[in-house]
């Protein structure tokens, strides 16, 4: 699944629409956690992180673990500074009004798996 497939399939709002992305890059997998210490240790590179944590440190984790994207669940929206940093670091951010449970369920149904699958 590519980022564009993901965004379309889950009707995600893009928070970083100006970012030019590699439309053909495949996502490696996914992870869901609101504890960034846990995400830092376990999120897969080139994967997507689903979280309700909107602190700036989400981006530091994304850069460190080389995430392909972050989805904020339950309609959580980070502050403007976080979105600006994401554009600078070239990490696409998405928002879903659905809960993390539903977002992950849909991603799983589309074939995405966790890092230890």
């Amino acid at each position: 699944m590519t980022l564009n497939d993901m965004a379309k399939a889950l009707s995600l709002d893009s928070l970083t629409p100006t970012l030019q992305l590699d439309a053909s890059a495949e996502l490696s997998g996914g992870y869901v956690s609101d504890l960034l210490s846990d995400a830092l240790a376990n999120a897969p590179s080139d994967g997507v992180l689903v979280t309700v944590q909107v602190h700036m440190n989400v981006l530091a984790v994304a850069v460190h673990t080389e995430l392909a994207a972050v989805i904020f669940a339950s309609g959580r929206t980070p502050e403007r500074a976080v979105i600006e940093k994401a554009i600078e670091e070239r990490i696409p951010l998405y928002r879903s009004n659905e809960s993390a449970f539903d977002v992950v369920g849909k991603l799983y149904a589309k074939g995405l798996r966790g890092p230890h699958a």
């Binding site: 609101d34 504890l35 960034l36 210490s37 830092l40 944590q53 602190h55 700036m56 440190n57 530091a60």
Partner: protein
């Protein structure tokens, strides 16, 4: 300069997770018995019992009024203040963002407001165990507005610490100290904390009388006061905090 023992993170019966016998006179007595010269009263999201503990202590023990704020990220941030009024004002701003208690939440612990004698004079109606609406940076700013010292609480604990919630200490968080709960765990973590360049204090986070003073910091200060604590944290004028 004197070498004095301080345990700056102690709960009272106001915190729903603390024992009911954490009354002002009982915890003062326990602290004095442990040889502490200074304690901090840091209940969850409120400082309504801090003044009662200060009065109960009289001249036997220095008591700093504080608070332990649960931020929107569910990270715990300590604030220690120059006086009880500043702590109370901070707590009042935080409390109003908390939900009301419910019959179900009250089963998880009472929130007892006490007088100097340890008598129950009220019950806090807001759910103090909940996360406030203050983000980490807003909580730090609020503490500083009230002339308090913002401290990242128990960073080597697996839950409710800035590090567990946010992966690591944000560089611009504005903390003036880091609190650890001994033992430190890995040397790597100890080195990581040291690299933040902030003073490190150890405290017990006591919820029970028997835990008071089980973890504490040694302060080399002239007297057990808030002003001297600030000098010790900054390593100024011969004051310092040690890890003995």
């Amino acid at each position: 300069m004197k070498r004095l023992l301080a345990d700056l993170h102690i709960h009272t019966a106001l915190s729903p997770c603390a024992a009911k016998d954490m009354t002002p006179p009982a915890l003062v007595q326990a602290a004095v018995r442990k040889g502490l010269a200074m304690i901090g009263i840091c209940d969850h999201n409120s400082a309504r019992n801090a003044a009662a503990v200060q009065e109960a202590a009289g001249k036997d023990l220095a008591v700093l009024a504080g608070i332990e704020i649960t931020t929107a990220e569910e990270a715990h941030v300590l604030g220690l203040f120059p006086d009880a009024e500043a702590a109370l004002a901070t707590g009042d701003q935080v409390r109003t963002t908390l939900p009301e208690t419910t019959a179900a939440s009250r089963k998880f612990g009472e929130q007892l407001v006490m007088n100097t004698q340890g008598e129950v004079v009220g019950r806090e109606p807001r759910m103090l165990s909940a996360a406030s609406a203050y983000s980490l940076s807003e909580a730090v700013r609020l503490i500083k507005q009230h002339k308090g010292i913002p401290i990242a609480a128990h960073v080597n604990r697996p839950s409710f610490s800035v590090i567990s919630q946010l992966g690591f200490l944000p560089a611009d968080a504005g903390f003036e100290a880091i609190e650890v709960f001994a033992p430190m765990g890995s040397t790597a973590r100890a080195n990581e904390l040291a690299s933040a360049g902030l003073p490190i204090i150890a405290s017990s986070d006591s919820h029970f009388l028997s835990d008071i003073g089980s973890c504490r910091v040694v302060l080399e200060i002239a007297a057990p006061t808030f002003a001297e604590l600030i000098l010790a944290l900054n390593g100024q004028r011969g004051r310092r905090c040690c890890h003995a």
